[in-house]
């Protein structure tokens, strides 16, 4: 399948390259861009020639020229921050310069048409939603995640900054197999052409001890297993957001679910001060763009946000300060660059709850990041090689996580040995047993290590210092050729390189107050780790894409097909992707589809996990009041990395249709199926159970106050258990998305827009499930091995959102009433054979054996079973319910815009009784929420 595809692609490209028409057969377009209000010229407006995708910027006097355009029809589009986009179709004539002028209207709520919904993508391109600045203002977004509610099938939610905001696409996974985390890890966030990376983030305790350590919601900061935390990006700086939820162009790599492409504000604009508040968030920002003559355009923005989740628990809060400057310059008319420098500081803080006397928990997560990015284009002009686009970025993030809590019931072994050693509580002490056999042994480097037993309660804390470095560079060559009058062929060839690494000090532990171990797992010893010892992850991608637009029998055919090859630290992947759209009835009905493979490289935490340390006591006489306290502990170290780790890939497929009725009513339906079989998570396989024969000693000295003389008491066969990175996440998302845009009815000045989706998500794990049950009071037990895909978590949802927007241009007033009907919500679990395990690991020899079900009641095995409730098959269903949101924006005078919103206007929170646990109720919907936004523009 893949080979055929490559062949096909090669054919296209060679056809395009051979292009019969000789270079030189081209014309030009030039013109002037002015503002409607006062005819003043607009400098640095971006002028794009579609479908070549060649662009230039206007000079100080508002003029522009694009040359080397092929004969025939092109579309010239003009955009500039704060003004509405305009595009016109122009017929290029050979060796002539066509003059086209544009007058741009200032974007405001006084316009006839206001765009406050997400608009769809063009034909033949990936399925995506574009959210304009105006829509973000009307919705009052404080983090990019807030705009996700505009996508079809996404439930309303209240804005929050109190915990990491990560983005997931087309999935509703609520099971605990890591599907949701993997989906957000695979969502690329691209700001000004360069991706923001979470690949070198290791700000969590080692997941080899417990995979749940990567859940940092209680500690603060961003988890290493999810995507980028969107709180670090201020929304007031953003000009537009495009969310690609379908099959992205091969230009975008290192993603599995999709991409969120963010363009920052650039260019001259008046000083705008914004103040935003709602029960959780206070936010103030300022933005101004200058035109510095020939030197270029500067746009500077600063933002401060403070968020607390609950007015009564303000000891949990988040603060963010962000400063960004964007510099735009066009050199000699055919080189355009946009360079931005962003400095941000984010802080999650969880102080001690004054009412929580017991746990004394406090934590903070500080994050300082600096990012320098630049993108631009060199218009080559000649022949079919049209332009060279570049994009580079370098970022540095300094993160510090701190967590302190009172560890309780914390008596346990704490060893500082870093290798396989048996040591005592006195550094360097060598002891032998009663028969003269040595007990202690020292791995190289452990000569001064000690093993102590920690007291029942102590104040434990840890610090994690991470210094993440990300460098990115991309170069894309853009070729365009027109065959006759009906075929446009655009080819891009590109290469991108990315490196992510962490040079921080890593995990730093106090010498005698470690984080609490898991009592039942000896392999849960924490050790310090230097992140600077971990190698950088280097990714090289090469891609090739052909976009073919053809008009046959008056019908447009758009095909975009590409191939991407990725090489990451030894792993490779080939990803073909195609998007196509065919008009069946001109201007009325077209069908579309797409298919592609996307892949995401493993991040630092999956490629280089920390080794696992098992600490177990051999002897202890502490806390008995004896004069000579002796503790003997054994440490074992295991490499927890997975050399067989592969790149996670996602197979996306789409099919759908678009209908346009009476030239204005648009209906889009897309059905999708996305399957990932090998997503990343930390889990267990047979090799993560280490069988060991552990020696317990007893004191044979009759006087307990003398130094103990140890003799072997017993030897027990025990298992140490840890987690290692696996490719076991299975995530299957299916659904049908639809959008019905009825447009604006002039007579009532109201527009209607409906979107919604039926989504169905299944998530599971392709690894075996293991259980370890204790056998009465005995310490030895077998490990039960169950089949893979033991639990499949299924979730189904049908959602429709209706948005009615009414605007009165004369007074600059826009009001949107959104109603979301949740028709069906159902979650259930499909079980494999969870009542009988197929194999077991025997404690007698550590080997795996097949299990004969007839031995179920044998005393050797009966403790390994647990009784299962027949209730577990029951699905949880929610009845239909409706939520209404209200958004209002009003321009006051010439310089002030006020926006107000209320979520769940009628405070409808119906109680739903759980189907599984009768008598348990939960509230449906979201709590009532409101917010105010005031924007002042000073010209």
């Amino acid at each position: 399948m893949k080979r055929l595809f490559v062949l096909f692609l090669g054919l296209y490209v060679s056809l395009a390259a051979l292009g019969a028409v000789a270079p030189g057969n081209s014309g030009a377009v030039s013109g002037k861009i002015t503002a409607v209000s006062d005819n003043s010229p607009i400098a640095y407006a971006v002028v794009i020639a579609h479908p070549l995708e060649v662009y230039t910027t206007t000079a100080s006097d508002g003029t522009f020229t694009i040359s080397h355009l092929p004969e025939g029809e092109v579309t010239i589009a003009v955009e500039f921050i704060g003004y509405t986009k305009v595009s016109k179709k122009v017929t290029v004539v050979k060796d002539k310069t066509i003059k086209v002028d544009f007058a741009l209207e200032e974007e405001s709520f006084r316009l006839e048409e206001v765009t406050v919904i997400a608009t769809g993508s063009d034909a033949g391109k990936s399925t995506s939603s574009i959210i304009s600045r105006q829509a973000m203002d009307h919705l009052q977004t404080s983090s990019v995640k807030d705009v996700m509610t505009m996508l079809p099938g996404v439930s309303f939610s209240n804005p929050s900054l109190i915990s990491a905001q990560t983005i997931s696409l087309r999935t509703d996974d609520s099971g605990n197999t890591g599907g949701l985390a993997m989906n957000s890890l695979g969502t690329a966030i691209i700001v000004d052409g360069a991706p923001v990376s979470n690949n070198a983030n290791m700000q969590a305790l080692s997941p080899t001890v417990a995979s749940g350590n990567m859940d940092v919601s209680l500690v603060g900061g961003t988890s290493p297993e999810t995507g980028v935390d969107m709180r670090s990006l201020s929304t007031d700086n953003i000009e537009s957001i495009e969310v690609i939820r379908g099959i992205p162009s091969v230009e975008y790599g290192d993603l599995t679910s999709g991409a969120v492409i963010i363009k920052s504000k650039a260019g001259k604009m008046p000083l705008s001060i914004r103040f935003k508040t709602n029960p959780n968030i206070y936010q103030i920002s300022a933005n101004k763009g200058f035109h510095a003559g020939k030197a270029g355009d500067f746009n500077i923005g600063a933002d401060y946000a403070y968020s607390t989740n609950n007015l009564t628990s303000s000891y949990i809060n988040f603060q963010r300060v962000n400063v960004k400057t964007l510099y735009t310059k066009t050199f000699a008319g055919n080189v355009t660059t946009n360079t931005s420098l962003q400095v941000g500081y984010g802080r999650d803080r969880r102080n001690r709850n004054p009412d929580d006397e017991q746990s004394a928990t406090s934590s903070f997560s500080n994050n300082v990041d600096v990012r320098l990015a630049s993108y631009g284009q060199w218009n080559a002009g000649k022949g079919f090689f049209k332009s060279l686009n570049y994009s580079v970025s370098a970022s540095y993030a300094d993160k510090h996580n701190f967590y302190e809590t009172l560890a309780q019931n914390a008596t346990g072994l704490f060893s500082t040995a870093m290798g396989a050693s048996t040591i005592t509580n006195t550094a360097g002490q060598v002891i032998k047993d009663s028969e003269g056999n040595p007990i202690t042994s020292f791995a190289p480097g452990d000569e001064n290590a000690t093993a102590i037993v920690t007291p029942n309660a102590y104040l434990s804390h840890y610090d994690i210092y991470g210094k993440e470095i990300n460098v990115y560079a991309k170069l894309v060559a853009n070729f365009f050729h027109k065959f006759g009058t009906s075929i446009d062929s655009r080819t891009i060839v590109g290469v991108d390189f990315k490196t992510d690494g962490n040079v921080g000090q890593g995990l730093v532990l106090p010498t005698d107050a470690p984080p609490l171990r898991t009592g039942t797992n000896a392999s849960s010893g924490y050790r310090p780790r230097k992140y600077s010892d971990i190698p950088f992850i280097n990714q090289l991608g090469v891609f090739l894409e052909e976009t073919w637009n053809q008009t046959v029998w008056n019908r447009h055919i758009d095909i975009s097909a590409g191939l991407r090859f990725d090489y990451v630290n030894g792993l490779t992947n080939l990803a073909p992707r195609i998007n196509a759209s065919i008009e069946i009835v001109p201007d009325i009905f077209s069908i579309k589809g797409g298919w592609g493979i996307t892949s995401k490289a493993p991040t630092a935490t999956y490629l280089y996990p920390q080794a696992t340390y098992s600490d177990l006591v051999n002897y202890s006489n502490r806390f008995l009041g004896y004069e000579h306290e002796l503790v003997v502990g054994t440490t074992n170290v295991h490499d927890s990395s997975n050399p067989q780790l592969k790149m996670a890939t996602n197979r996306k497929a789409e099919v759908g249709f678009d209908i346009t009725i009476a030239k204005r009513y648009k209906i889009n339906v897309t059905a999708y199926d996305e399957l990932m079989r090998n997503g990343y998570s930390f889990g267990s396989d047979i090799s993560t159970f280490i069988w060991t024969q552990h020696v317990f000693y007893k004191n044979i000295n009759s006087d307990p106050n003398l130094m103990p003389t140890l003799a072997v008491d017993k030897v027990l066969n025990l298992f140490f258990r840890y987690n290692k990175p696996l490719n076991d996440v299975y995530l299957h998302n299916r659904g049908i998305e639809y959008e019905i845009n009825l447009g604006r009815f002039e007579a009532i000045r109201t527009s209607f827009y409906i979107n919604g989706a039926w989504t169905y998500t299944e998530s599971s794990s392709s690894a075996n499930t293991f259980t370890t049950k204790s056998n009465g009071g005995n310490a030895e037990y077998n490990v039960a091995v169950y089949d893979p895909y033991l639990y499949t978590y299924c979730s189904e949802k049908v959602l429709t959102t209706l948005r009615i927007t009414h605007n009165i241009p004369a007074i600059g007033f826009v009001v949107t009433l959104s109603g979301q009907v949740n028709w069906l919500g159902k979650t259930w679990t499909k079980f494999g054979n969870d009542e009988m395990f197929s194999q077991y690991i025997s404690y007698k020899d550590g080997k795996v054996y097949d299990f004969d079900p007839a031995l179920k009641d044998d005393p050797e095995f009966r403790y390994m079973f647990e009784s299962k409730s027949p209730q577990r098959f029951l699905p949880e269903k929610t009845p239909p319910f409706v939520i209404f949101n209200l958004n209002i924006s009003k321009e006051i005078g010439n310089f002030l815009t006020a926006s107000f919103f209320v979520n769940n206007v009628f405070n409808s929170r119906p109680l739903n009784e759980s189907d599984k646990i009768k008598g348990n109720y939960n509230e449906l919907g979201i709590p009532m929420f409101f917010g105010l936004d005031i924007n002042i523009k000073i010209k």
Binding site: A360, L406, Q408, T411, A457, T520, S620
Partner: protein
């Protein structure tokens, strides 16, 4: 004539003297029909006691028969006492027949019946205490010092080998219909259920508890006052008789095994989650001690189904239970209490709640030089709250089992 009369009188007198000092043989047959267990006492200690002179004669029977010689004529009380060990549990048997008239060789049949062991909970300390760990601003909770003290409230020696202790599962009223999967013919009203059965070790002859002595079982037999534990709070339990430490608990690394204190045995553990320590609720539980008639074995485990999920539980026959005490959180919680008649109806709650270093202690008074504890089968009357948990309150003796 007078001479012969005197001689005759003298002979008669002599003759009657011989009649007065004549002893008889009393044969005591022991009726063992009321003994239900298969193992019967090897021998009995048979005592015959003159009601008037209070003089006693004691022999050891051969199986179920004893012969006592040299019994003067009179009225006697005949009593027997014996013990038999089966499956590690020693049962005491006794019987009395009163006012037996012995005028000639007599045979008495005394029925031997099992003596209900008069073991009672003397003091239970379950709340735990609070202390301040170095460097911490607020206090931490400490619960490793829980202990249970059992007292011999009778006049005979009781062997505590094989005594089981546990807490009752499902003791609050709940609205969902629940069922226990007891075998056919068994009535749920005859049972209470537990999830963890701990057993005193021994073969039936190793741990005799004399009248007036008590023994203590502690969660962990450490000196809890040491630095590293409570830094001066709590109490020293390093010399108690038993501690609740199993091999599994040792392997889980959270507890220290005191080598000088024997470990309790795990009779049965329901459920397969790992046990870090045997902790009972710091707000109190329904504690029971019993000698099991039916040997503790995994096959006896049944399931409790509350309509949502099932849990494994182990049945305890109410007739086996020797003493039961319930403690709970507060007054309000007592309203949801389930009643397991004929067991104790009381409900205690330490006034300061959990982690308050309080214990419940049975009241008693000294009679005949020995402390006799109150046992009216209603713990509300029988117990009082103490703010200073201590071992062997009232100066009772400790057993000498080393």
């Amino acid at each position: 004539m007078k001479k012969i009369f005197i001689i005759l009188a003298g002979i008669a007198l002599l003759a009657s003297c011989k009649t007065l000092t004549k002893t008889h043989i009393v044969t005591v047959n022991i009726d063992e029909s009321k003994i239900t267990s298969s193992v019967k006492p090897e021998s009995y200690s048979v005592t015959i006691k003159n009601v008037v002179t209070q003089q006693e004669k004691n022999v050891t029977s051969t199986k179920a028969t004893a012969v006592i010689e040299g019994v003067y004529a009179g009225v006697y009380n005949v009593s027997i006492a014996g013990s038999a060990t089966e499956d590690g549990i020693t049962k005491n048997y006794s019987g009395t027949v009163a006012n037996v008239s012995v005028l000639a060789d007599a045979t008495v049949t005394v029925a031997a019946e099992v003596v209900e062991p008069a073991l009672v909970f003397k003091e239970i300390y379950y709340t735990g205490c609070k202390y301040t760990a170095p460097g911490a601003e607020k206090e931490s909770n400490y619960f490793k010092d829980q202990f249970y003290e059992i007292y011999n409230n009778s006049d005979n020696t009781i062997y505590v080998d094989g005594l089981c202790i546990g807490t009752v599962y499902n003791r609050t009223v709940n609205t969902s219909g629940y069922t226990y999967s007891l075998p056919e013919g068994e009535d749920v009203k005859d049972y209470v259920f537990t999830q963890y059965v701990w057993k005193v070790p021994g073969d039936g002859t190793q741990y005799p508890l004399q009248p007036g002595e008590s023994f203590v079982m502690a969660q962990q037999a450490l000196n809890h006052t040491l630095d590293g534990n409570t830094y001066g709070k709590s109490l020293d339990l390093s010399k108690v008789e038993f501690e609740f430490i199993s091999e599994e608990i040792i392997a889980n690394g959270r507890c220290t095994d005191n080598p000088d204190v024997p470990n309790m045995l795990v009779g049965h553990k329901c459920g397969t989650n790992k046990t870090l320590q045997w902790l009972t609720s710091a707000t109190g539980e329904y504690y029971v001690i019993w000698f099991p008639e039916k040997k503790i074995a995994p096959e006896n485990e049944i399931t409790f189904d509350n309509g949502i999920s099932t849990f494994p539980v182990y049945p305890i026959k109410k007739s086996d239970i020797i003493d039961a005490v319930e403690a709970g959180k507060d007054e309000a919680s007592s309203k949801n209490k389930l009643y397991f008649s004929p067991l104790d109806d009381g409900y205690l709650f330490c006034p300061e709640g959990n982690y308050s270093f309080q214990s419940i202690a049975r009241k008693g008074e000294t009679k005949n030089g020995r402390l006799v504890l109150v046992d009216t089968n209603n713990s509300n009357n029988d117990f009082e709250y103490k703010t200073d948990p201590q071992l062997r309150r009232g100066g009772v003796g400790a057993p000498n089992w080393k």
